[in-house]
Symmetry: C2
Subunit: 367 residues, 2 copies
């Protein structure tokens, strides 16, 4: 993370009145707190209070069965024992990167992608490369990619499968496609070289830190050893809560509600941006939490963020998402997920003020 | 982990009637489930349901303040911002090992030590070395070491400090010294090169996965970046529960009760072993959950564990804890922490039967 941007984001997060289009968080309007509380109280009554004790590194058996069953319903051949529960999707990606870094140090990625994955690659000496030639393996977000909010094209999917290279398929947002057409998992068509990653962070809530990894079968033992070495196991309590919660929940109905909720906000922000900033360009989101916008401004995106403080709006500077430094206009990610519809309108107004301040040369010095 | 031993341990754990002296778990008799339930329900009522949302990578501010205050009371100069909340002590050790592996690949350790730390070292290409010459840095468990249940001698402590080398000080058990004389933290005397590690797993419960790391000040930014890359943050819900729980809890009184509880079990197991197996040798525990026993048997400790299945007892084979393969008699770790007093007496009787079966050549083939 760029230290200047991190500092600005922390200041923003602590400032009341700022409309925060940053962070990529799910809306707490959708957190099922009552049902989670019931699940919590029920697991505390289980024998030996197992929810508070250590568990096995691969995770809760019933939870892994649920995950495997959902993946089977989408066309994959996968059993509970193929699934490793992880401390969020991030840890699943980290384990996959740890193993794949042994196979090659150039990873194919989208031109813009998830910043924490870029950090992970770089920390392991792997170069993220947005080209498609000469890469050793791929990190992709099928279904819905962060930050663009679009899916893999059929051509890109076919090329990935034809490449014969290992793939990390990070499905963090895949179930939040607004059309509900969650694609067949990539590992269903390339089981021996695909590292499938999923999470409850976007669909249920992130504070539990429950994700999962389905490694290629030949890598399962090594991946499990890596999981154990990293933190022994994902939180037993969090896994138990999710497992008990899922027994009583209609998860597909939950996803339908979430899709409608986020789609409405995506449309509202898109309209507001087109009204206030007609020269900024972006594609409508097919799902997820954000739009990725190309502005008509040139220069330092951290300065643009600093200029946003007075109008009272915040966003994620686009440079965080770039595999390589990009020439051309400033880009930014704007998240609609946690912002109420009226505030999305106001955010666009404030972004327009921000752009004016930027053009006037505001916030020349950014610490 | 040795695959044979892992398999035997899983079979044992699933067998009712086996007295399990393995695992190093805290007793669920001491889990404060009602108070944790109150804490959980209270944090769900906080604004924006922050306990279920993403948090900052360094962790909950109030929790870090609590941790820092307790360390200051033991003589260390440390502020909340020096503390990084981790997904258990294991992750804290993993981050420290990741950084220190860049400084040298020979780590000084006790002759027997925590198996998951040994796995971590080896997975990073670091050789654990029980000698004191020629090591690049140290991994130690001050206060109470696993598996021996003893503390650093004053001479060893002085030698560590005089070495000038980096130290990982894993205090997982330090507050569970039966005499309550928790030593001054090592990092109070070597702040610039000590990685201090602590956890709530032994004193409160492990299922929350809340530990902490205090890195040397010059390493704080790198350690925080490593934490973020690994899993973004420790579980927000778990941290929130602990933070809310601690507001109302008398933690020192809790520790006093835990020490008395475990000390009684340690004494009971020691008596039973001396009665049933007078030729086995061990030192009484000064704290923690286990004794480390030298038997009068020679050979394969996995076979000894296989022999224990019929009498119905389980333990941790000593080879798991050795930095280097050791000649000499079979050793084993026996944990008293989760076993009721009567069952500890019975465990010793069964261990004596196990030894007889082993001498007769039982379980010659261990898968």
């Amino acid at each position: 993370v760029d230290a200047r941007i991190d500092r600005l984001q922390r200041i923003t997060a602590a400032s009341p009145g700022v409309v925060v289009l940053a962070g990529g968080l799910p809306s707490d309007d959708l957190f099922p707190r009552k049902a989670l509380a019931r699940a919590f109280l029920s697991v505390l009554d289980e024998p030996q209070c197992a929810a508070l004790q250590y568990g096995w590194p691969e995770g809760d058996r019933e939870l892994r069965s649920w995950i495997a069953a959902r993946l089977r319903a989408r066309g994959a051949e996968v059993a509970a024992d193929d699934v490793i529960v992880t401390s969020g999707a991030q840890q699943a990606v980290a384990i996959a990167v740890e193993r794949l870094a042994l196979r090659g140090t150039v990873a194919g990625v989208d031109r813009e992608t998830y910043p924490a994955a870029l950090d992970l690659l770089r920390s392991r000496g792997v170069t993220p490369d947005a080209g498609s030639e000469g890469v050793d393996w791929f990190y992709v977000m099928p279904g819905i990619a962060n930050p663009r909010g679009d899916g893999l094209t059929p051509g890109r999917r076919a090329a990935l499968l034809a490449s014969g290279r290992p793939i990390i398929a990070d499905e963090a947002y895949a179930e939040l496609r607004f059309d509900g057409e969650v694609p067949r998992p990539l590992f269903a068509d390339a089981r021996d070289r695909t590292w499938h990653v999923g999470t409850f962070s976007k669909t249920l809530c992130p504070g539990l830190r429950v994700g999962w990894l389905v490694p290629p079968p030949a890598e399962r033992a090594a991946a499990l050893a890596a999981k154990r070495a990293r933190d022994l196991q994902a939180g037993t309590l969090a896994q138990s809560i999710v497992r008990a919660f899922l027994r009583d929940d209609d998860f597909d109905a939950r996803l339908d509600r979430a899709r409608a909720f986020y789609e409405a906000r995506a449309g509202r922000l898109a309209c507001a941006l087109r009204r206030c900033l007609p020269s900024w360009r972006f594609r409508d989101a097919e799902g997820g939490f954000s739009l990725f916008v190309e502005t008509d401004l040139d220069g330092d995106d951290a300065r643009l963020l600093a200029c946003a403080a007075r109008p009272g709006v915040a966003f994620d500077p686009g440079s965080l998402f770039h595999a390589q430094p990009e020439p051309g206009p400033i880009t930014l990610r704007v998240c609609f997920s946690t912002v109420a519809p009226d505030a999305l309108d106001e955010a666009a107004v404030r972004l327009e003020r921000t752009a004016r301040a930027f053009r006037r040369g505001g916030a020349r010095r950014v610490a």
